[in-house]
């Protein structure tokens, strides 16, 4: 079996940092003059007010016009610039899909699309929830799709994707971002990370669901279920080698994503298992083909739509056919400025 990371992830409640991506992009752009920053009218919300104030000559406000913004970005990339395009993930993918396909993906241009507020992490209702962005971007030929887990990775993602020859879509949580990995963690785009090993169930996750998955693995461990935990920051191209290696050694597989169960990580893993002939019972924890309504805060939505630590534990318990009710999972209390999964 593959060797798990020697790095030890932190335990909740996690400390948080503010705007790690925005600060890192500015740092990168100060070194690399080919980088342009495009905004679709959510400048502060996308952490690029820092860039706008420091490098205004390389900041382009496209207005609230996502279709135009993608076409503009394509032409700028064609002219030798490296545009980083920012808006909420839902507006970055659904509305300008045709423009991304034709003006960016088809010519394989180095445009970096940064979509904030993944899944149900927003109280903005279905219009603001990017629950299908991974599926949409994954379907485009040549598109790299990245869903990082914490502030350590968010701090490194701009530099990591700047080296990708073609287009990249990154989904990023907004605001205060938990620090889960130790400082020496290095984000690479060519691999998944095995964070724990256990032969009963493989838990594969991406993005901000890493925290509840780690919590679920701990609860399950206390009740005699040994879980492997795999963090998959790059959903496409998927590190199929690691996915195959880990799942082949486990009795069951559960994917966990802050996204629809259609077309995202769960689908990508299912396709990999099926094509490799790895016949394991599979459950996909995610948004179950519905639009998520009734929100004041993300915690409520994560609980209501089955994205909590308890949902993961329940899914594993049922999948393995364990007797009796599943163990209770309670969130670690978090003080202001800290983060704990629901």
């Amino acid at each position: 079996m593959t060797t798990p990371e020697t790095l030890v992830v932190r335990r909740p409640p996690y400390p948080t940092v503010l705007k790690p991506y925005g600060r890192a992009l500015l740092r990168l752009a100060e070194r690399r003059t080919d980088i342009l920053c495009l905004s679709g009218d959510l400048t502060r919300q996308c952490e690029i007010d820092l860039f706008r104030d420091r490098l205004p000559e390389r900041f382009v406000h496209a207005g609230m016009a996502e279709a135009h913004m993608m076409g503009l970005a394509g032409a700028l990339a064609r002219s030798g610039h490296q545009p980083f395009v920012h808006t909420f993930g839902v507006f970055a993918t659904r509305r300008p899909y045709d423009q991304i396909a034709n003006a960016i993906a088809y010519p394989r241009l180095p445009v970096r699309i940064i979509g904030f507020m993944p899944g149900v992490s927003t109280p903005g209702g279905p219009s603001h929830q990017a629950i299908d962005d991974v599926a949409l971007m994954r379907a485009l030929p040549g598109m790299t799709v990245v869903d990082v887990a914490d502030a350590v990775e968010a701090d490194q993602v701009a530099e990591a994707i700047a080296e990708v020859p073609g287009p990249v879509y990154v989904r990023l949580k907004r605001g205060e971002i938990p620090v889960i990995f130790p400082g020496d963690h290095r984000l690479r785009l060519d691999r998944a990370y095995v964070l724990a090993e256990g032969a009963d169930v493989a838990l594969l996750t991406s993005g901000m669901m890493l925290a509840p998955v780690l919590a679920a693995a701990e609860v399950l461990g206390e009740y005699g279920v040994a879980a492997s935990v795999v963090h998959v920051p790059v959903v496409k191209p998927l590190d199929e080698r690691t996915v195959r290696a880990v799942t082949a050694e486990c009795r069951a597989v559960v994917t966990v994503e802050n996204h629809s169960v259609v077309g995202g990580l769960g689908s990508a893993v299912a396709e990999t298992l099926a094509e490799a002939g790895i016949g394991r019972p599979l459950r996909r924890v995610g948004i179950r083909d519905v639009f998520a309504e009734g929100s004041l805060d993300a915690a409520y939505l994560f609980d209501k739509y089955g994205l909590s630590t308890r949902s993961v534990v329940d899914a594993v318990w049922a999948l393995l056919g364990r007797p009796g009710p599943p163990p209770a999972a309670t969130a670690a209390p978090a003080a202001p400025g800290e983060y704990s999964p629901v």
């Binding site: 135009h68 076409g71 700028l76 064609r78 610039h81 396909a101 003006a103």
Partner: protein, 266 residues
Amino acid sequence: MTSMDPRRLATAIRLRAVQMVAPQGFGYLGQALSAAEQVAAVFTVLRFGVDRLVCSPGHYVIAPFAAAGELGLIDDDVLATYGRNGAVVEAIGTERSPVLDYTCGSLGQGLSAAAGFALSDRMRGRDGRVFALVSDGELQEGQVWEAAMFAGHHRLDRLTVLLDANNSQVDGPVDSITTIEPIADKWRAFGWHAVDLDGHDVAAVAEALDQAGRDTTRPSVLVCRTSTVHGLRCLPPDADGHFIKLPPELAEAAVAELTEELESLR
């Protein structure tokens, strides 16, 4: 840039377009017939490697391909594969389309690319002009107006749109489907220099292009009034300009008519 007489080039575009469409017996000939003078005028001033050429409606690539063929920028044997299986010169523009800096078969996207090129040139202190062929049917797409608003706001003065107002789209006359008039006033309201002119008067198009190049305060649009059956008398009166049928005997008549026309312009 070419020293060729733009009137001659416009007729040569029509002739070559007929020859490109003839093997299939149908195709986007009407686009070449309506845009021939605009394309001829642009190729007369276009500085390759400095200026940029965007053909927003991918269905129009036949016209710049024909012009490029006439000027020796595309080999005749390549042009002869137009629209055939395996061809680089596909009937609707692709990323492999030669000569053009941008084209797209999904309509309404070209002006954003043109604005991107103009913005890049400005950032880099380059002096190139950006010419964008846009069709009137594309004005139904919202993205055109997003881009027009952006270009007007940023005063992208090196950007010139040649708007082929041929009143034709797949389902019929544009004005029978949506009212897009007053076209020029719409662009003016977005901060553009706009002129309304006879798009088949090649001298007028050339003059308007020259004027646009001298406006250093705002982007320009030439609203070129045209017809999809212009310059080819042998077409039947009920020809569908969006997708003209050209059976062998009609193609033969068209080649004869345009060859004679070209001779008369020597």
